[in-house]
């Protein structure tokens, strides 16, 4: 493992005045898949959202650095263009904006930020169709409104489609496994594993060990009451599955 992609130090975050993260410290290196596990309400989704810059998640103390630069004052779109990607737990439906139009605008914004020219419409279509096929998404999906009328599994696959088209450096997957049946889980995991590389980092937020059988993490961190209370390798996840969260959170 090489350079640090993400460095979070003593992070305190409040949502609507309520403290949720209370001194969280965490690093993700290039090439690393870090799993964040923890009981409901421990702050997992808050962590995912605050890194992506969602309004309403206020950093009251501490730092978030991405490739050595502070993210805290950057607009969400600037973070995205710099290579930070959040796969949403609940992707929204946006009727009237087609998936294709949305993806093209996103990719153009990313490429412009990187100093690259926009892809031609033909090259863009080719690329998106190839990725869609790899995720068992019919090309018909691309014409519809963003996530409009998609099933839960289709929405999650669409998130992974965006991940693979936009090619960020840091992917934060917020409960990407929730609501997926086993077949869909395998398709999604396959997509994430294709994204995985020596230069990319992944922050895998999940409640269940199940996903980690398909996307094998390098490190596992347990989040409880706004802090990392235990870190280890994938054996920690297996232990959690066996014993539940109580033994760690009680001790913390």
């Amino acid at each position: 493992m090489s350079a640090k992609l993400l460095e979070i130090d003593d992070l305190h975050v409040t949502v609507a005045g309520t403290p949720i993260l209370k001194g969280l410290t965490l690093d993700v290196a290039a090439g690393e898949v870090a799993a964040i596990m923890g009981p409901n309400g421990s702050g997992k989704s808050t962590l995912a959202n605050v890194v992506a810059g969602r309004p309403g998640y206020d950093v009251t103390h501490g730092t978030i650095r991405y490739r050595g630069e502070s993210l805290v004052d950057l607009a969400p779109e600037a973070r995205a263009r710099a290579g930070v990607f959040l796969a949403f737990q609940y992707p929204v439906e946006i009727p009237g904006v087609s998936n294709m139009e949305f993806l093209k605008a996103s990719l153009d914004a990313h490429r412009t930020a990187r100093g690259e020219v926009s892809l031609s419409a033909v090259d863009f279509m080719k690329r998106v169709r190839a990725v869609a096929a790899s995720l068992d998404l019919s090309p018909e999906f691309l014409k519809r409104g963003v996530n409009e009328g998609f099933s839960g599994g289709e929405k999650k696959r669409n998130e992974i489609l965006q991940l693979l088209v936009l090619e960020p450096m840091l992917a934060i997957l917020d409960e990407t496994d929730s609501g997926l049946d086993i077949d869909a889980l395998q398709v999604v995991a396959g997509g994430v594993n294709r994204f995985r590389s020596k230069t990319n980092g992944i922050l895998l937020v999940t409640h269940y060990q199940r996903l980690l059988e398909h996307i094998v993490p390098d490190t596992v961190h347990v989040l409880a009451d706004g802090r990392i209370v235990k870190s280890g390798d994938r054996r920690l996840a297996l232990e959690l599955e066996e014993k539940g969260y109580g033994w760690i959170t009680d001790a913390a």
């Binding site: 969602r54 607009a75 969400p76 779109e77 995205a80 263009r81 929204v92 946006i94 605008a105 914004a109």
Partner: protein, 409 residues
Amino acid sequence: MQSAPSFIDTALARSRELDGLLPLFASERRSSANVLARRTIGSDTAETWKYVPIAPFLAAPFGSDDTVAPSAPVQSAFLDFADAAVIRIEGSNPGAPATLRSGVRLTTLSGGAGSVAMNANIDVDRYPLTHVNTALLVDALLISVAPGVDAGTLDLRFTSGADAANVSRVRIELGNRSRLRLVEQHHEDRATNAIVDIAVGDGAALEHTRLLPAAVAPSWLLATVRVGRDAAYELAGHALGTQTRRHDVHVRLDGDRARTQVDLKCAAHRKDKLDHHIVVEHAGVDTVSRQTVHGLATNTAELTFDGRIHIRPGAQRSDARLTNKNLLLDRRARINAKPELEIYANDVKCSHGATVGQLDPNHVFYLQARGVDEAAARAMLTRAFLTTGLSDELRDAGVLDLYAEFLAS
């Protein structure tokens, strides 16, 4: 009304001048001039003219006989529709008729259309500015479609003429079982008083597209439509603001089983005041109406929608629905929504509802999280709101281009 006296005097003088020009039309003109002379118009209209005031429509340049250079042709601003016969109307002067299908007849008052009771189908008490139109009308266009004829697409393109104000009138009669696709596009850069008066015969069908891009002077437009037995009237309208614009639509479902669908999108920005008043009257039995109005307001604009469903006595089994959705894009903007029901029959289905909301912050964030900047994200979502229910034909014709300035504001 401060400016009324001078307006009335000049308007009456102008009206008398016009008598010599169109003698066949003189009696109706005189009767409207007499109404103007009583100076009562606008005095009892506080409620219906609460938002956009009536005063600018009872003032110069209406009534003035000043002439000015015709505005530069803006033909490029008009949207093109497939296989449409284009008819240009400059001020109140209809241009040379385009090639028309047989069974479609186009005449003008000045061309000897004869004595027609021009206001017979207009509820002049509800629309008192009709008297201004009648008193000052220089000419009118009359279009008739013979029974059983498919008239294809007529594209009426309104621009300003040499007069200081545009006063225009179009009357359209669809014979029984005929069909017409009517496109009405306004690019007037002067004060405007425009009436389109339509009768849809039994079993006939009219598909009407009304495009009202942003203008720069007071603008009043009325579409009044009578729908016969088993006939259908569909209106798809797109209206943007001017400093002061009032848009009236009056649909009367006179015949049994007549039906109408009115889809209107309206957007106001800058300091625009934009009023839409739609009245749908159910008079026949088993009549059906659907109104869907999407409104948007930003900057310090004020947008008003007043939608009324009126079920007349005896109009049993009427089925009426009105939906009004509004998007408020700036905390300084204002939207007034006033859905109304008036029911005088006991076996009817009516529903109406209005909502005012803002762009969903979760939608904005979703787009931002994919690298789209906030302003572009908001424009994309606003555009999406405008495309709700938009036909492919109108989308392909470029109707969203009308909103370019609005979306950029």
